[in-house]
């Protein structure tokens, strides 16, 4: 299936959830509403024509100044169809949570923990949502755009 055909299929299956689709530089992207992410991912994995059996990457982007502020980005790959797709779910700052897709691909386990650690987005239904890359006493979520690069942590102390 070509990238456009994949996006068409997703749009047809979830007409109210898909906000926008586009293809740029050969990458197929679909922006969806976060409430339906679990259903969409399950459909992408189980549909025999799509068969996305790899969750390659799960990350988030902070668009400070835009609303909704965050976008959780899922990169999926289908081995049998040799096809990639990117799903983006928009998450507002106020209610910073989205459903966890651990039940669909277990690979999401650690990736979601990393996004929680670095961005502060809560994944509802995750079995073990703890910090993974940073230590437990760390304050703040460093990859947010309003976290200054040179911020010091209490356990480490000031620069001088």
């Amino acid at each position: 299936m070509s990238p456009n055909a994949t996006l068409d299929k997703i749009s047809r299956q979830f007409p109210r959830s898909v906000i926008e689709t586009h293809t740029w530089r050969g990458d197929a992207t679909a922006i969806v509403r976060r409430e339906d992410i679990l259903a969409i991912c399950t459909f992408l994995r189980d549909d025999p024509e799509l068969a996305y059996n790899f969750m390659m990457d799960l990350t988030a982007v902070d668009y400070l100044g835009k609303a909704p502020r965050f976008e959780v980005v899922y990169h999926l790959y289908s081995l049998s169809k040799n096809q990639r797709v990117r799903i983006k779910a928009q998450v507002p700052e106020a209610d910073c949570a989205i459903d966890s897709i651990v039940s669909v691909w277990i690979a999401a386990d650690w990736f979601e923990r990393e996004v929680f650690d670095l961005y502060g987005i809560v994944f509802k239904g995750h079995p073990n949502l703890k910090r993974i890359l940073l230590y437990e006493g760390f304050e703040g979520h460093p990859l947010r755009k309003d976290y200054p690069v040179k911020q010091r942590q209490p356990l480490i102390g000031p620069l001088n």
Partner: protein, 396 residues
């Protein structure tokens, strides 16, 4: 006997294979709950080598990210360089000249060979065959000498540039490579004789850390670990980049997904990579190695000092950074550990909005508890080795 086993009070022992332990390459903490020698549960803690790669990238320009990529998978740094450069070039929508692509392939494959040498050497040493470690380290050193001639550094290469390379191949590189490969092949045969039919090595590695294909895919395994499980997925064949579609090589695929298959896959990949390098050197075309696009790649010093347009572009690209069009891409290369993906988001300015690395060894480390439950504590060592978790890329 069974009665006393039921009424005997036993406790599980919690042992800490802490961040500094002879076997944890790349600082990882395992909290192992033991029932005698059997692993009851294993908890993995990573993040000891987290240096804030993404935050640093967002704080500089697109070109300033290049040295940071060296320090991701520090055992095969050139592959990270190439991956990032290809990703940014995809953002721009450009392709580098043919000679540049061939040299990038050579650099990638040599880095891959070094990574596999290191991994098998460490794996054998952890199991007790300490001599193998030194044989492969000698082989790796010969290749590092070549890389030093190529880019000036053995590990932190920083050789690839967005839109080209730092410099061309040095004089006599082909002949030196052929000589180095001869010794490498000899050492490879030595190690093959020492390990592949060795009863003790097979006992330690066979049926240990087995990961069936379906579960491996669900966990997001890629690279040699996935191929050892029987899934023939290699980014070089599935989505050919650079000139891999013009080179003749095979990808070894295992059967059971245990540690021994991972070892065999890597050994064979070393041979295939040597083949690729030899073919690339033979087919190397003449021509420029840098794209002649002033806003993307620096012009030669000759031009910069003598022509005002080149000077202006030089000034702008250094102070403001190169400015790719707004948008986002995901570009993947076949790293030594698996699919090394770069997800770049640009807003049209010289600073990245997001510079994400998809770490190949992250999912494999996440699967350690699954592979180790019910095994003996002595199995943690070879399994963790064969996964090839590199702290720099797993923690970033």
């Amino acid at each position: 006997m069974t009665d006393s086993a039921k009424t005997l009070h036993t406790e599980h022992m919690v042992i800490n294979m802490g961040p500094s332990h002879p076997v944890t390459h790349g600082t990882v903490k395992f909290t192992v709950t033991l029932d005698g020698e059997t692993v009851h549960d294993l908890k993995v803690d990573i993040g000891y080598l987290h240096r804030g790669f993404e935050k640093m990238c967002e704080n500089g320009t697109w070109e300033q990210v290049m040295p940071y990529t060296d320090r991701l998978n520090y055992v095969s740094p050139l592959i990270n360089n190439v991956g990032y450069a290809l990703a940014v070039e995809k953002l721009f929508g450009v392709e580098t000249p043919a000679r540049c692509q061939y040299i990038r392939v050579i650099a990638c494959e040599m880095a891959r060979i070094c990574d596999h040498f290191t991994n098998i050497a460490a794996g054998a040493m952890e199991v007790g065959a300490m001599t193998v470690f030194l044989y492969f380290v000698e082989a790796r050193d010969l290749l590092w000498d070549l890389m030093e001639e190529l880019c000036g550094a053995r590990v932190t290469a920083n050789y690839v540039r967005i839109g080209g390379l730092k410099n061309d191949l040095p004089e006599g590189f082909g002949a030196k490579t052929a000589k180095a490969f001869e010794t490498c092949r000899e050492l490879w045969t030595d190690v093959d004789k020492l390990l592949t039919k060795n009863r003790i090595f097979i006992d330690r590695m066979r049926d240990v850390g087995t990961m069936p294909a379906e579960e491996a895919m669900a966990y997001g395994f890629t690279g040699p670990c996935l191929r050892a499980s029987g899934v023939p997925y290699d980014v070089r064949k599935a989505h050919p980049y650079l000139v891999y579609d013009q080179l003749d090589f095979e990808i070894p695929v295992g059967e059971t997904g245990d540690n021994f298959d991972r070892y065999l896959v890597r050994m064979e990949e070393i041979q295939q990579s040597m083949r690729i390098v030899e073919q690339a050197l033979a087919q190397l075309p003449a021509g420029p190695i840098n794209l002649d696009v002033p806003g993307l790649r620096w012009q030669s010093k000759d031009d910069t000092y003598n022509r005002i347009e080149a000077l202006i572009f030089h000034f702008k690209t250094i102070t403001e950074g190169i400015q790719p069009p707004a948008g986002e891409i995901y570009a993947a290369v076949e790293g030594a550990n698996g699919e090394l993906g770069f997800y770049l988001v640009s807003d049209g300015s010289g600073k990245p909005v997001k510079c994400r690395v998809r770490p190949p060894s992250f999912p494999m480390t996440a699967a350690m508890p699954r592979m180790m439950r019910g095994r003996l504590i002595a199995d943690i060592v070879p399994t963790f080795d064969m996964i090839n978790m590199i702290g720099g890329e797993c923690d970033r």
